[in-house]
């Protein structure tokens, strides 16, 4: 344990950016949990007298075309964006790792069917497939989650399959089998915990992608409905004011979105350094 801690400290000292990413991650979590309590204004309260005001002491991020406080909207939106991407990633992680572990372990027809399925998903440009899934299932937030989970599914299957394959003949698996464990028990209690670290790296990298994808879908008018604060839709609302110079409407939600994604990506890179020093870039 002390060796792991020393290694983590070494990685953090070597790459202070990872520390910053952890800080940003905590901040996002705090905003997601307490954003609605911390927000200075009601995110839905409009005040047409104070529409399209540039940033000031009263409204740090300015106000939008209905006079709503952009800072409050950005803070409240954090929860929805994190909810969408977290549930999408959790869904694809759960389905993808079970499928991948089974494919890698049993091989044969299970593997063939699953890899056909994965290849079919990957035959589409992923964002376009997500658009199609939302169009087919109906334009709701829940279906944004499903669509995002579907396009992330292949990455987990492939990774879990490769990691399982590499450990199938490992000593600890043989030992577990000799100890009289069945397939389900070996997979669930011996193999899965072992492939969890690399999978977690993938989860962190995927979180950023999932947020981007969800924001992109709501930017083109899918899923989240207008009065609800959400980063992608706020950028879309601000888009028409960019050409007339009201930059703050789109800039702040867009920057926060970008920072959140950046943070998750750096965190994923940092986690990879901690877990697997050989794969450093």
């Amino acid at each position: 344990m002390t060796a792991t801690l020393r290694h983590i400290r070494y990685v953090l000292a070597e790459n202070p950016v990872t520390g910053v990413a952890f800080g940003g991650f905590l901040l996002i979590l705090l905003l997601a949990l307490f954003g609605p309590l911390l927000a200075p204004y009601d995110p839905l309260a409009s005040d047409t007298a104070a529409a399209l005001q540039p940033p000031s002491w009263a409204h740090w991020f300015g106000t939008d075309h209905l006079g709503r406080d952009i800072l409050s909207r950005v803070m409240v939106a954090t929860r929805l964006d994190v909810q969408i991407s977290l549930s999408a990633v959790a869904l694809s992680f759960a389905c993808g790792s079970v499928a991948g572990v089974c494919a890698g372990w049993f091989g044969g027809p299970v593997e063939r069917i699953l890899s056909r399925l994965v290849d079919t998903i990957m035959a589409f440009p992923l964002f376009v497939l997500a658009m199609g899934v939302v169009a087919a299932l109906g334009n709701t937030v829940g279906n944004i989650v499903v669509a995002t989970a579907i396009i992330n599914f292949p990455f987990y299957v492939r990774m879990a399959r490769a990691e399982t394959n590499a450990r199938r003949e490992a000593g600890f698996i043989e030992a577990a089998r000799l100890g009289g464990n069945g397939d389900a028990r070996i997979l669930g209690f011996h193999l899965f915990p072992n492939i969890l670290p690399p999978m977690m790296v993938q989860v962190s990298l995927n979180m950023g992608y999932a947020i981007l994808n969800a924001a992109g879908l709501s930017f083109i008018g899918l899923g989240v409905r207008p009065p609800t604060p959400e980063w992608g839709i706020m950028v879309a609302e601000g888009a028409s004011y960019i050409v007339s110079g009201e930059w703050w409407v789109a800039l702040f939600p867009g920057t926060v979105l970008m920072l959140a994604v950046f943070c998750f990506n750096l965190l994923g890179d940092g986690l990879r350094d901690i877990i697997d020093p050989r794969r450093r870039t």
């Binding site: 035959a123 992923l126 376009v128 992109g216 008018g221 888009a239 930059w247 870039t281």
Partner: protein, 340 residues
């Protein structure tokens, strides 16, 4: 040469399952659509009998396998239904708008390759230098950028603040005359017609959207070039080439880069997936009249035939591009040719 031809044929055959999968999925998505298309086509005032009649006419009363065969037949004839918003056959709408999307995507791809490969090579030849750090920051930041947001930022800076770029409104401003359509690519058509002013206008409109899309795809390409160059530069044959006294540029380009490009070509497949998806968002930001903005308009109006046509076109295009990459790979790498 016949060997290369055989290779290409084999790749074509190997792409068939992907195309089949794409068609099946698109069919399933069509049938999973919410609402009853027969009721939709019959109109709100239709009697139940009229709805039944429309259902029969559309073939929706038949079993799913029969419907699938009918769908295949329509596709084989190039039919993709009729758009309710434009009133035109979807095929014609998409064909009319496809060149705009292709022109944008190809321009972005060229731009990305032109920036990413030199950047990756420079970063790999001088690891730890400022250019290496810059490449790393660019490639991490690049994948984090929401492409619709960078587009808006570029519009704000180059159109509103500096006034260098034209308004982000489509492919040509209102005052420029459209050249006669030959290829559908405005840049090529205007050159063919010898209209310099139109060419300049079209190029000016294209710069910002292509830059936005390109920035997005520089990251994975530069990262891959750097990693694969680093691997090749430390290999024995490069050391031998250096020890034989070959010039630095010969070693770098002829020996190292040519070998390092192979994994980069493979990443192109992933980059295409990003590019085609991001294309939709960029088209919306710049009011670009391509198939992406066509699909968005249709989605918002719950007009599903164009959406299906769009997904199918995009997927087929993606399969085709991947096929092209495979063939290219075979041509660059003689080992693949010999195995085939």
């Amino acid at each position: 040469m016949p060997r290369t031809l055989r290779l290409i044929l084999r790749r074509l055959l190997s792409a068939l399952p992907s195309v089949a999968a794409v068609v099946v999925v698109t069919f399933v998505l069509t049938r999973a659509l919410p609402g009853d298309p027969a009721a939709y086509f019959a109109g709100p005032a239709a009697t139940p009998q009229a709805v039944e009649e429309v259902r029969k006419r559309l073939g929706l009363d038949r079993t799913l396998p029969e419907q699938f065969l009918a769908y295949l037949g329509e596709l084989a004839r190039g039919e993709m239904g009729t758009s309710l918003t434009t009133g035109q056959p979807v095929r014609e709408d998409i064909l009319a708008r496809l060149p705009a999307s292709l022109e944008l995507t190809l321009a972005a791809l060229l731009l990305a390759v032109a920036v990413a490969i030199p950047l990756g090579v420079a970063a790999a030849t001088r690891p730890g230098s400022w250019i290496d750090h810059m490449a790393r920051v660019v490639s991490t930041a690049g994948v984090s950028l929401p492409v619709f947001f960078t587009g808006l930022l570029l519009v704000y800076v180059f159109y509103y603040l500096l006034g260098w770029a034209p308004a982000p409104m489509g492919r040509l401003d209102l005052f420029a005359s459209t050249p006669p359509t030959v290829t559908g690519f405005l840049l090529i058509d205007s050159l063919l017609a010898g209209e310099g002013a139109t060419f300049r206008a079209a190029a000016a409109q294209l710069v910002l959207p292509a830059l936005t899309l390109g920035l997005f795809s520089v990251a994975p390409l530069a990262r891959m070039t750097r990693a694969s160059m680093l691997g090749v530069l430390s290999s024995d044959f490069v050391r031998t080439a250096r020890a034989s006294g070959l010039s630095r540029s010969t070693v770098l380009v002829t020996y190292a880069l040519r070998n390092a490009l192979l994994p980069v070509v493979t990443t192109l497949g992933m980059v295409f997936s990003f590019l085609l998806g991001a294309n939709v968002l960029v088209e919306k930001v710049f009011s670009w009249p391509g198939i992406g903005s066509y699909a968005i308009e249709a989605l918002v109006a719950s007009d599903y035939a164009p959406v299906q046509g769009f997904i199918l076109t995009m997927a087929v295009m993606y399969v085709g591009l991947n096929l092209l990459v495979d063939v290219l790979y075979g041509i660059i790498d003689p080992r693949v040719r010999i195995e085939a």
